[in-house]
Symmetry: C2
Subunit: 208 residues, 2 copies
Amino acid sequence: MMHLILADSELEIMPKIKNELLDSSLHHHLMKKMKIKDWRRRGRPDIAHFFLIVAMESILNKKNLLRVYIHTRNDEVIYIKPYMRIIKNYDRFKGLMKKLFEEGRVPKNNPLMIIKNENLFELLEKIDAKKILFTRKGRKISPCDLQAIYEKDVACIIGGFPSGYFITKGIEKKVDEIVSIYDEMLPAWTVAMEAIIAYEYKFCQKFL
Amino acid sequence: MMHLILADSELEIMPKIKNELLDSSLHHHLMKKMKIKDWRRRGRPDIAHFFLIVAMESILNKKNLLRVYIHTRNDEVIYIKPYMRIIKNYDRFKGLMKKLFEEGRVPKNNPLMIIKNENLFELLEKIDAKKILFTRKGRKISPCDLQAIYEKDVACIIGGFPSGYFITKGIEKKVDEIVSIYDEMLPAWTVAMEAIIAYEYKFCQKFL
């Protein structure tokens, strides 16, 4: 099984006002004006959306070999059922995420997503797998070389923020490998697609 | 060089009314009511958006080894500069596409996208590369096996519609191979990511 974690993702209800999901493409000036800490990187539900669209619609997930988690900057973890179909329309996706933050689960009966107060270390402890952190600060390898370090049970941790570094301190000590698959910062979904397909190539040739 | 073509994509200005980009998530009932032909599959700028987000932010494109084209149901072809950064916000992306349809190029000076009246065959004739059509009706192969049929210059053609089949008749006769990489219909961006990474694995190991 492959576990894919979007870590320290910039997904949250708007601080102070609390009436909608924070989205920098709409609230950029407001965040600046309100002097919200880290305002330059916060409010990026689009990153989580693209990440989910890539991961949940991958062949690996369709084969039921992928588990996807979204950890947020406020130490919540969103658990997603593998058969959930991600809403394509961005505004409706944001509406659903807002509801998830408010109600803890969506839909109410037989939820497809639930959210728990949990930090990244608590999540990682639950997952019995080799843990690989993706960051530019890691050991340089080619995406093709991911196969060499993958084990059958592997957890890949990818940053869910547009710039800067993980805000979870000490994450480096909780993983087995730290790798960089490109010289520059890559979007979370690009890293996700490389991570997923390396797993497909290593373990799923007979399934495909 | 890899060429990636989103073919017969459901991207168009709203028929008859002509005041905005057709989007089934907003105009579904209207399309049905107006008895617009093929209303069930039309108006999917989200597919083109996700496809571009995946393709243009791939490592292959960052290495300048990818060319991306969007062919529409109305026989237009959108040419995209490889260094264009796709707008992440969906509504703004739609605004840009509407402007492209109206003005033929965006931005006006040093355009990053231009649109031409051109059918799929005219586009394919311009591209000197092995042509591979992706469709469920093709020969079944594993995504890993794409490498075996790729040549250095290859053009991959992927459907840009949510259901049904290519509306360009006779496309099968204009390509060198017809393949199916999965038993069920896959979203265009999932096929794109498999196609792109197979090329990276075959030709770019030394670059990465």
